[in-house]
Amino acid sequence: MSTPTQSKSLKTIGEDTWKNKTEKVNAELFTLTYGAIVSQLCADYDRDFQKVNNHLFSMGYNIGVRLIEDFLARTALPRCENMVKTSEMISKCAFKIFLNMTPQVTNWSTEKDAFSLMLEENPLSDFVELPVDAMKQLWYSNVLCGVLKGALEMVQLDCDVWFISDILKGDSQTELRIKLNKVLKDEVPIGED
Protein backbone atom coordinates (compact mmCIF):
# COMPACT_ATOMS: atom_id res chain seq x y z
CA MET A 1 0.00 0.00 0.00
CA SER A 2 1.26 3.51 -0.68
CA THR A 3 2.64 5.58 2.15
CA PRO A 4 2.00 9.33 2.46
CA THR A 5 5.57 10.02 1.36
CA GLN A 6 5.13 8.01 -1.81
CA SER A 7 1.86 9.82 -2.59
CA LYS A 8 3.56 13.14 -2.16
CA SER A 9 6.37 12.29 -4.49
CA LEU A 10 3.95 11.20 -7.23
CA LYS A 11 2.27 14.57 -6.90
CA THR A 12 5.64 16.29 -7.08
CA ILE A 13 6.66 14.28 -10.12
CA GLY A 14 3.41 15.24 -11.83
CA GLU A 15 3.66 18.91 -11.00
CA ASP A 16 7.34 19.21 -11.72
CA THR A 17 7.05 17.48 -15.07
CA TRP A 18 4.09 19.65 -16.03
CA LYS A 19 5.79 22.83 -14.96
CA ASN A 20 9.28 22.29 -16.30
CA LYS A 21 9.39 19.54 -18.85
CA THR A 22 6.25 19.95 -20.90
CA GLU A 23 5.62 22.05 -23.96
CA LYS A 24 2.12 23.43 -23.80
CA VAL A 25 -0.72 24.51 -26.06
CA ASN A 26 -3.89 26.41 -25.20
CA ALA A 27 -6.54 24.19 -23.69
CA GLU A 28 -9.21 25.99 -25.70
CA LEU A 29 -7.57 24.93 -28.93
CA PHE A 30 -7.55 21.38 -27.64
CA THR A 31 -11.26 21.62 -26.81
CA LEU A 32 -11.96 23.07 -30.23
CA THR A 33 -10.01 20.37 -32.03
CA TYR A 34 -11.69 17.57 -30.13
CA GLY A 35 -15.06 19.15 -30.79
CA ALA A 36 -14.34 19.17 -34.51
CA ILE A 37 -13.40 15.48 -34.36
CA VAL A 38 -16.59 14.51 -32.52
CA SER A 39 -18.65 16.59 -34.92
CA GLN A 40 -17.16 14.88 -37.92
CA LEU A 41 -17.79 11.45 -36.41
CA CYS A 42 -21.42 12.34 -35.72
CA ALA A 43 -21.81 13.36 -39.34
CA ASP A 44 -20.01 10.23 -40.58
CA TYR A 45 -22.27 7.92 -38.60
CA ASP A 46 -25.48 9.84 -39.24
CA ARG A 47 -25.84 10.60 -35.56
CA ASP A 48 -25.77 6.96 -34.50
CA PHE A 49 -24.20 7.91 -31.21
CA GLN A 50 -23.41 4.40 -30.08
CA LYS A 51 -21.14 4.06 -33.08
CA VAL A 52 -19.56 7.41 -32.33
CA ASN A 53 -18.94 6.31 -28.74
CA ASN A 54 -17.26 3.16 -29.96
CA HIS A 55 -15.09 4.96 -32.40
CA LEU A 56 -14.02 7.55 -29.88
CA PHE A 57 -13.02 4.66 -27.66
CA SER A 58 -10.93 2.93 -30.30
CA MET A 59 -9.30 6.21 -31.29
CA GLY A 60 -8.39 6.67 -27.65
CA TYR A 61 -6.95 3.17 -27.48
CA ASN A 62 -4.59 3.85 -30.36
CA ILE A 63 -3.47 7.04 -28.65
CA GLY A 64 -3.14 5.43 -25.21
CA VAL A 65 -0.83 2.63 -26.31
CA ARG A 66 1.69 5.23 -27.44
CA LEU A 67 1.02 7.83 -24.78
CA ILE A 68 2.00 5.38 -22.05
CA GLU A 69 5.51 5.07 -23.44
CA ASP A 70 5.88 8.84 -23.44
CA PHE A 71 4.62 8.88 -19.85
CA LEU A 72 7.08 6.23 -18.74
CA ALA A 73 9.93 8.01 -20.44
CA ARG A 74 9.13 11.27 -18.66
CA THR A 75 8.63 9.77 -15.24
CA ALA A 76 10.60 6.47 -15.27
CA LEU A 77 7.94 5.12 -12.95
CA PRO A 78 7.86 1.35 -12.40
CA ARG A 79 4.84 -0.91 -12.55
CA CYS A 80 2.37 -0.44 -9.74
CA GLU A 81 1.97 -3.13 -7.10
CA ASN A 82 -1.77 -2.62 -6.81
CA MET A 83 -4.73 -0.64 -8.10
CA VAL A 84 -4.45 1.92 -5.32
CA LYS A 85 -1.01 2.89 -6.53
CA THR A 86 -2.25 2.76 -10.11
CA SER A 87 -5.09 5.14 -9.33
CA GLU A 88 -2.68 7.62 -7.81
CA MET A 89 -0.35 7.41 -10.75
CA ILE A 90 -3.22 8.06 -13.12
CA SER A 91 -4.77 10.93 -11.23
CA LYS A 92 -1.70 12.69 -9.82
CA CYS A 93 0.81 12.09 -12.59
CA ALA A 94 -0.74 11.13 -15.88
CA PHE A 95 -3.70 13.51 -15.92
CA LYS A 96 -1.50 16.26 -14.54
CA ILE A 97 1.26 15.86 -17.10
CA PHE A 98 -0.96 15.64 -20.15
CA LEU A 99 -4.11 17.57 -19.28
CA ASN A 100 -3.04 19.63 -16.28
CA MET A 101 -5.77 18.23 -14.10
CA THR A 102 -5.95 16.06 -11.01
CA PRO A 103 -9.21 14.11 -10.88
CA GLN A 104 -10.33 12.83 -7.51
CA VAL A 105 -10.17 9.09 -6.88
CA THR A 106 -13.32 7.73 -5.16
CA ASN A 107 -15.85 4.90 -4.94
CA TRP A 108 -13.48 2.05 -4.37
CA SER A 109 -14.92 -1.42 -4.73
CA THR A 110 -14.60 -3.69 -1.71
CA GLU A 111 -11.89 -5.77 -3.33
CA LYS A 112 -10.02 -2.62 -4.26
CA ASP A 113 -10.04 -3.64 -7.90
CA ALA A 114 -12.20 -0.81 -9.21
CA PHE A 115 -12.35 2.92 -8.62
CA SER A 116 -13.83 6.07 -10.09
CA LEU A 117 -12.27 9.27 -11.26
CA MET A 118 -14.32 12.42 -10.73
CA LEU A 119 -13.53 14.86 -13.49
CA GLU A 120 -14.37 18.28 -12.10
CA GLU A 121 -12.73 20.00 -15.01
CA ASN A 122 -12.36 18.48 -18.42
CA PRO A 123 -10.43 20.26 -21.16
CA LEU A 124 -12.10 18.05 -23.75
CA SER A 125 -15.54 19.37 -23.00
CA ASP A 126 -15.16 22.87 -21.57
CA PHE A 127 -18.03 25.12 -22.68
CA VAL A 128 -19.47 22.32 -24.80
CA GLU A 129 -23.22 21.92 -24.95
CA LEU A 130 -24.80 18.91 -26.54
CA PRO A 131 -27.98 18.89 -28.63
CA VAL A 132 -30.86 16.94 -27.08
CA ASP A 133 -30.49 13.73 -29.07
CA ALA A 134 -26.75 13.58 -28.31
CA MET A 135 -27.39 14.19 -24.63
CA LYS A 136 -29.23 10.91 -24.33
CA GLN A 137 -26.60 8.66 -25.87
CA LEU A 138 -23.28 10.32 -26.56
CA TRP A 139 -20.41 9.84 -24.15
CA TYR A 140 -18.62 12.93 -25.39
CA SER A 141 -15.26 12.29 -23.72
CA ASN A 142 -15.20 8.59 -24.47
CA VAL A 143 -11.75 8.98 -26.00
CA LEU A 144 -10.43 9.15 -22.42
CA CYS A 145 -11.74 5.65 -21.74
CA GLY A 146 -9.88 4.32 -24.74
CA VAL A 147 -6.69 6.12 -23.80
CA LEU A 148 -6.77 4.65 -20.31
CA LYS A 149 -7.61 1.17 -21.55
CA GLY A 150 -4.75 1.19 -24.06
CA ALA A 151 -2.24 2.69 -21.68
CA LEU A 152 -3.06 0.29 -18.85
CA GLU A 153 -2.95 -2.70 -21.17
CA MET A 154 0.63 -1.84 -22.11
CA VAL A 155 1.60 -2.19 -18.46
CA GLN A 156 -0.15 -5.55 -18.21
CA LEU A 157 -3.38 -4.35 -16.63
CA ASP A 158 -6.47 -5.57 -18.45
CA CYS A 159 -9.15 -3.10 -17.40
CA ASP A 160 -12.61 -2.03 -18.36
CA VAL A 161 -12.99 1.73 -18.52
CA TRP A 162 -16.31 3.48 -18.94
CA PHE A 163 -18.22 6.62 -18.07
CA ILE A 164 -20.86 6.42 -15.39
CA SER A 165 -22.10 9.97 -15.62
CA ASP A 166 -21.31 13.18 -17.48
CA ILE A 167 -22.40 16.74 -16.78
CA LEU A 168 -22.80 17.16 -20.53
CA LYS A 169 -25.65 14.68 -20.26
CA GLY A 170 -27.28 16.65 -17.52
CA ASP A 171 -25.83 14.58 -14.68
CA SER A 172 -24.57 16.30 -11.56
CA GLN A 173 -20.99 15.17 -12.04
CA THR A 174 -18.63 13.51 -14.50
CA GLU A 175 -17.55 10.11 -13.26
CA LEU A 176 -15.26 7.68 -15.07
CA ARG A 177 -14.84 4.14 -13.76
CA ILE A 178 -11.84 1.84 -14.08
CA LYS A 179 -12.12 -1.85 -13.20
CA LEU A 180 -9.32 -4.34 -13.25
CA ASN A 181 -10.24 -7.57 -15.01
CA LYS A 182 -6.92 -9.28 -14.62
CA VAL A 183 -3.23 -8.71 -14.49
CA LEU A 184 -1.78 -9.96 -17.75
CA LYS A 185 1.04 -12.42 -17.36
CA ASP A 186 4.41 -11.42 -18.70
CA GLU A 187 5.28 -13.54 -21.69
CA VAL A 188 7.75 -16.37 -21.39
CA PRO A 189 9.78 -17.53 -24.38
CA ILE A 190 8.49 -20.70 -26.02
CA GLY A 191 10.16 -23.66 -24.40
CA GLU A 192 10.88 -21.95 -21.12
CA ASP A 193 7.54 -22.66 -19.41
Binding site: N26, E28, F30, A36, D44, F57, S58, L67
Partner: protein, 276 residues
Amino acid sequence: MVRTKEDLNQSIKKMNRINAASNTPTAVGTQETTEQQKLQHQLQIFQNSLPKVSQTAYMLLLNECVPLSMAVEKKRGDRALNLVGNGDDEVSQTEGKLEGVHLSPPLDPPSNQLCRELYEADEEKHNRVLDRLRNIGFEIGNKVTELLVFSNNPNLHFKDMDLLSVMKFICRDVWRQMFNKQVDNLKTNHRGTFYLFDYDYKPIQTFALDSESSAKELQMVKPFLEITVGVIKGVLASIGHAPENVVCLASYVDRPEEKPRSSFTKGVSFHVQVTM
Protein backbone atom coordinates in the same frame (compact mmCIF):
# COMPACT_ATOMS: atom_id res chain seq x y z
CA MET B 1 9.81 35.28 -23.30
CA VAL B 2 12.39 37.54 -24.84
CA ARG B 3 13.24 34.98 -27.47
CA THR B 4 9.63 34.69 -28.56
CA LYS B 5 9.37 38.43 -28.87
CA GLU B 6 12.45 38.48 -31.07
CA ASP B 7 11.10 35.66 -33.24
CA LEU B 8 7.89 37.60 -33.59
CA ASN B 9 9.70 40.75 -34.60
CA GLN B 10 11.79 38.81 -37.09
CA SER B 11 8.66 37.56 -38.76
CA ILE B 12 6.99 40.92 -38.66
CA LYS B 13 10.08 42.41 -40.26
CA LYS B 14 10.09 39.72 -42.93
CA MET B 15 6.46 40.30 -43.74
CA ASN B 16 6.93 44.02 -43.68
CA ARG B 17 9.74 43.57 -46.17
CA ILE B 18 7.29 41.90 -48.55
CA ASN B 19 4.93 44.82 -48.10
CA ALA B 20 7.64 47.42 -48.57
CA ALA B 21 8.78 45.75 -51.77
CA SER B 22 5.28 45.94 -53.20
CA ASN B 23 4.61 49.48 -52.06
CA THR B 24 1.74 48.56 -49.79
CA PRO B 25 1.65 51.15 -47.03
CA THR B 26 2.55 49.54 -43.75
CA ALA B 27 3.90 51.02 -40.56
CA VAL B 28 7.55 50.21 -40.18
CA GLY B 29 8.54 53.33 -38.26
CA THR B 30 10.53 52.89 -35.04
CA GLN B 31 7.91 54.32 -32.74
CA GLU B 32 5.17 52.09 -34.08
CA THR B 33 7.48 49.08 -33.78
CA THR B 34 8.01 49.78 -30.06
CA GLU B 35 4.28 50.15 -29.61
CA GLN B 36 3.81 46.88 -31.42
CA GLN B 37 6.49 45.23 -29.29
CA LYS B 38 4.71 46.31 -26.13
CA LEU B 39 1.41 44.94 -27.36
CA GLN B 40 3.03 41.67 -28.40
CA HIS B 41 4.59 41.39 -24.97
CA GLN B 42 1.24 41.97 -23.29
CA LEU B 43 -0.35 39.41 -25.53
CA GLN B 44 2.35 36.93 -24.62
CA ILE B 45 1.71 37.41 -20.91
CA PHE B 46 -2.01 37.01 -21.45
CA GLN B 47 -1.56 33.87 -23.54
CA ASN B 48 0.64 32.34 -20.87
CA SER B 49 -2.06 32.80 -18.26
CA LEU B 50 -4.65 30.79 -20.17
CA PRO B 51 -5.32 27.16 -19.27
CA LYS B 52 -3.04 24.75 -21.10
CA VAL B 53 -2.61 21.13 -21.99
CA SER B 54 0.51 19.31 -23.09
CA GLN B 55 1.54 19.65 -26.69
CA THR B 56 2.20 15.90 -26.81
CA ALA B 57 -1.44 15.19 -26.04
CA TYR B 58 -2.52 17.71 -28.66
CA MET B 59 -0.25 16.38 -31.40
CA LEU B 60 -1.26 12.79 -30.71
CA LEU B 61 -4.93 13.76 -30.95
CA LEU B 62 -4.40 15.76 -34.13
CA ASN B 63 -2.31 13.12 -35.85
CA GLU B 64 -4.58 10.28 -34.82
CA CYS B 65 -7.28 11.87 -36.97
CA VAL B 66 -5.62 10.38 -40.03
CA PRO B 67 -5.86 6.71 -38.98
CA LEU B 68 -9.27 7.50 -37.49
CA SER B 69 -10.59 8.85 -40.77
CA MET B 70 -9.30 5.78 -42.57
CA ALA B 71 -10.97 3.50 -40.03
CA VAL B 72 -14.27 5.35 -40.46
CA GLU B 73 -13.98 5.00 -44.22
CA LYS B 74 -13.48 1.27 -43.81
CA LYS B 75 -16.46 0.92 -41.50
CA ARG B 76 -18.74 2.84 -43.80
CA GLY B 77 -17.49 0.84 -46.74
CA ASP B 78 -18.19 -2.39 -44.88
CA ARG B 79 -21.68 -1.26 -43.98
CA ALA B 80 -22.43 -0.39 -47.58
CA LEU B 81 -21.40 -3.89 -48.64
CA ASN B 82 -23.12 -5.58 -45.72
CA LEU B 83 -26.02 -7.28 -47.46
CA VAL B 84 -26.99 -9.15 -44.30
CA GLY B 85 -28.26 -5.85 -42.95
CA ASN B 86 -28.02 -4.30 -39.53
CA GLY B 87 -26.44 -7.16 -37.65
CA ASP B 88 -23.66 -4.87 -36.55
CA ASP B 89 -26.14 -2.35 -35.22
CA GLU B 90 -27.97 -4.95 -33.21
CA VAL B 91 -24.79 -6.06 -31.53
CA SER B 92 -23.85 -2.56 -30.54
CA GLN B 93 -27.33 -1.92 -29.15
CA THR B 94 -27.14 -5.05 -27.01
CA GLU B 95 -23.77 -4.00 -25.66
CA GLY B 96 -25.27 -0.76 -24.53
CA LYS B 97 -28.10 -2.49 -22.71
CA LEU B 98 -26.24 -5.09 -20.67
CA GLU B 99 -26.16 -3.87 -17.13
CA GLY B 100 -22.99 -4.26 -15.16
CA VAL B 101 -21.19 -5.82 -18.07
CA HIS B 102 -18.96 -3.46 -19.91
CA LEU B 103 -17.54 -5.05 -22.98
CA SER B 104 -14.91 -2.97 -24.60
CA PRO B 105 -15.96 -1.85 -28.05
CA PRO B 106 -14.27 -3.52 -31.01
CA LEU B 107 -10.90 -1.96 -31.66
CA ASP B 108 -9.42 -0.68 -34.88
CA PRO B 109 -6.12 -1.92 -36.28
CA PRO B 110 -3.03 -0.07 -35.03
CA SER B 111 -2.46 3.46 -36.35
CA ASN B 112 0.56 2.55 -38.47
CA GLN B 113 -1.42 -0.17 -40.19
CA LEU B 114 -4.30 2.21 -40.93
CA CYS B 115 -1.82 4.67 -42.40
CA ARG B 116 -0.51 1.94 -44.64
CA GLU B 117 -4.03 0.98 -45.69
CA LEU B 118 -4.73 4.59 -46.53
CA TYR B 119 -1.65 4.66 -48.71
CA GLU B 120 -2.79 1.50 -50.48
CA ALA B 121 -6.42 2.56 -50.84
CA ASP B 122 -7.88 3.41 -54.24
CA GLU B 123 -8.11 7.03 -55.26
CA GLU B 124 -11.79 7.46 -54.44
CA LYS B 125 -11.43 6.10 -50.94
CA HIS B 126 -8.24 8.01 -50.38
CA ASN B 127 -9.88 11.28 -51.39
CA ARG B 128 -12.87 10.67 -49.15
CA VAL B 129 -10.51 10.26 -46.22
CA LEU B 130 -8.70 13.47 -47.13
CA ASP B 131 -12.06 15.25 -47.37
CA ARG B 132 -12.88 14.10 -43.89
CA LEU B 133 -9.59 15.48 -42.62
CA ARG B 134 -10.15 18.79 -44.33
CA ASN B 135 -13.61 19.02 -42.78
CA ILE B 136 -12.17 18.55 -39.33
CA GLY B 137 -9.58 21.22 -40.09
CA PHE B 138 -12.23 23.53 -41.49
CA GLU B 139 -14.23 23.41 -38.32
CA ILE B 140 -11.14 24.08 -36.26
CA GLY B 141 -10.12 27.01 -38.45
CA ASN B 142 -13.63 28.40 -38.41
CA LYS B 143 -13.72 28.57 -34.64
CA VAL B 144 -10.10 29.40 -33.94
CA THR B 145 -10.63 32.97 -35.13
CA GLU B 146 -13.31 33.45 -32.46
CA LEU B 147 -10.88 32.10 -29.91
CA LEU B 148 -8.12 34.42 -30.92
CA VAL B 149 -10.29 37.47 -31.44
CA PHE B 150 -11.75 37.21 -27.99
CA SER B 151 -8.34 36.87 -26.40
CA ASN B 152 -7.80 40.53 -26.90
CA ASN B 153 -5.22 40.06 -29.59
CA PRO B 154 -3.75 43.40 -30.65
CA ASN B 155 -2.98 41.98 -34.07
CA LEU B 156 -6.61 41.69 -34.92
CA HIS B 157 -8.73 44.50 -36.24
CA PHE B 158 -11.07 42.54 -38.40
CA LYS B 159 -12.88 45.51 -39.80
CA ASP B 160 -9.72 46.75 -41.47
CA MET B 161 -8.35 43.39 -42.37
CA ASP B 162 -7.30 42.95 -45.91
CA LEU B 163 -6.42 39.57 -47.28
CA LEU B 164 -2.72 39.98 -46.63
CA SER B 165 -3.36 40.78 -42.97
CA VAL B 166 -5.56 37.73 -42.67
CA MET B 167 -2.81 35.57 -44.11
CA LYS B 168 -0.32 37.10 -41.72
CA PHE B 169 -2.73 36.31 -38.92
CA ILE B 170 -2.74 32.71 -40.04
CA CYS B 171 1.02 32.59 -40.36
CA ARG B 172 1.62 34.17 -37.00
CA ASP B 173 -1.26 33.62 -34.59
CA VAL B 174 -2.94 30.48 -35.84
CA TRP B 175 0.33 28.68 -36.45
CA ARG B 176 1.62 29.72 -33.03
CA GLN B 177 -1.53 28.43 -31.34
CA MET B 178 -1.34 25.09 -33.08
CA PHE B 179 2.36 24.45 -33.48
CA ASN B 180 4.12 26.81 -31.06
CA LYS B 181 5.96 28.32 -33.98
CA GLN B 182 5.19 30.60 -36.88
CA VAL B 183 5.21 30.00 -40.57
CA ASP B 184 8.79 30.47 -41.75
CA ASN B 185 8.06 32.39 -44.89
CA LEU B 186 5.08 34.00 -46.61
CA LYS B 187 5.12 34.80 -50.29
CA THR B 188 2.43 36.59 -52.26
CA ASN B 189 1.81 38.03 -55.66
CA HIS B 190 -0.65 40.52 -54.21
CA ARG B 191 -3.33 39.25 -56.50
CA GLY B 192 -4.81 36.67 -54.16
CA THR B 193 -2.12 33.99 -54.35
CA PHE B 194 -0.09 33.07 -51.29
CA TYR B 195 2.51 30.53 -50.36
CA LEU B 196 3.02 29.65 -46.72
CA PHE B 197 6.29 27.87 -46.07
CA ASP B 198 6.83 25.83 -42.94
CA TYR B 199 10.21 24.13 -43.08
CA ASP B 200 9.76 22.33 -39.77
CA TYR B 201 6.09 21.36 -39.89
CA LYS B 202 5.51 20.11 -36.40
CA PRO B 203 3.08 17.20 -36.71
CA ILE B 204 5.34 15.13 -38.95
CA GLN B 205 8.84 15.78 -37.68
CA THR B 206 9.52 12.32 -36.31
CA PHE B 207 7.70 10.34 -38.99
CA ALA B 208 9.85 7.99 -41.00
CA LEU B 209 9.58 4.71 -42.77
CA ASP B 210 12.63 2.62 -43.47
CA SER B 211 15.90 3.76 -44.85
CA GLU B 212 15.11 3.32 -48.50
CA SER B 213 11.45 4.24 -48.78
CA SER B 214 11.66 7.94 -49.43
CA ALA B 215 8.94 8.39 -52.06
CA LYS B 216 6.57 6.04 -50.29
CA GLU B 217 7.28 7.78 -47.03
CA LEU B 218 6.40 11.18 -48.44
CA GLN B 219 3.17 9.77 -49.85
CA MET B 220 2.24 8.20 -46.54
CA VAL B 221 2.89 11.41 -44.66
CA LYS B 222 0.97 13.65 -47.06
CA PRO B 223 -2.45 13.11 -45.40
CA PHE B 224 -1.04 14.71 -42.26
CA LEU B 225 -1.00 18.03 -44.05
CA GLU B 226 -4.68 18.00 -44.85
CA ILE B 227 -6.10 19.06 -41.51
CA THR B 228 -4.03 22.23 -41.73
CA VAL B 229 -5.29 22.78 -45.28
CA GLY B 230 -8.77 22.70 -43.78
CA VAL B 231 -7.77 25.05 -40.98
CA ILE B 232 -6.57 27.65 -43.46
CA LYS B 233 -9.82 27.43 -45.42
CA GLY B 234 -11.80 27.57 -42.19
CA VAL B 235 -10.07 30.72 -41.03
CA LEU B 236 -10.63 32.39 -44.39
CA ALA B 237 -14.27 31.33 -44.34
CA SER B 238 -14.85 32.81 -40.91
CA ILE B 239 -13.56 36.14 -42.16
CA GLY B 240 -15.83 36.15 -45.18
CA HIS B 241 -14.00 34.23 -47.90
CA ALA B 242 -16.37 31.41 -48.77
CA PRO B 243 -14.72 28.02 -49.32
CA GLU B 244 -15.84 27.96 -52.98
CA ASN B 245 -13.58 30.96 -53.56
CA VAL B 246 -10.56 29.51 -51.85
CA VAL B 247 -8.18 26.90 -53.17
CA CYS B 248 -5.66 25.50 -50.73
CA LEU B 249 -3.15 22.82 -51.60
CA ALA B 250 -0.33 21.38 -49.56
CA SER B 251 2.90 20.08 -51.02
CA TYR B 252 6.47 19.37 -50.06
CA VAL B 253 9.31 21.78 -50.61
CA ASP B 254 13.02 21.50 -50.14
CA ARG B 255 14.32 22.95 -46.96
CA PRO B 256 16.72 25.85 -47.44
CA GLU B 257 20.36 24.95 -46.82
CA GLU B 258 20.80 27.46 -44.00
CA LYS B 259 18.28 25.56 -41.92
CA PRO B 260 19.81 23.10 -39.46
CA ARG B 261 19.27 19.46 -40.32
CA SER B 262 15.96 18.09 -39.16
CA SER B 263 14.59 14.57 -38.94
CA PHE B 264 11.96 15.12 -41.61
CA THR B 265 13.71 15.87 -44.86
CA LYS B 266 11.16 18.11 -46.50
CA GLY B 267 9.41 21.32 -45.62
CA VAL B 268 5.77 21.96 -46.36
CA SER B 269 4.22 24.65 -48.50
CA PHE B 270 0.57 25.64 -48.43
CA HIS B 271 -0.56 27.25 -51.66
CA VAL B 272 -3.58 29.45 -51.13
CA GLN B 273 -5.53 31.08 -53.91
CA VAL B 274 -8.40 33.40 -53.10
CA THR B 275 -10.79 34.64 -55.76
CA MET B 276 -12.31 37.90 -54.70
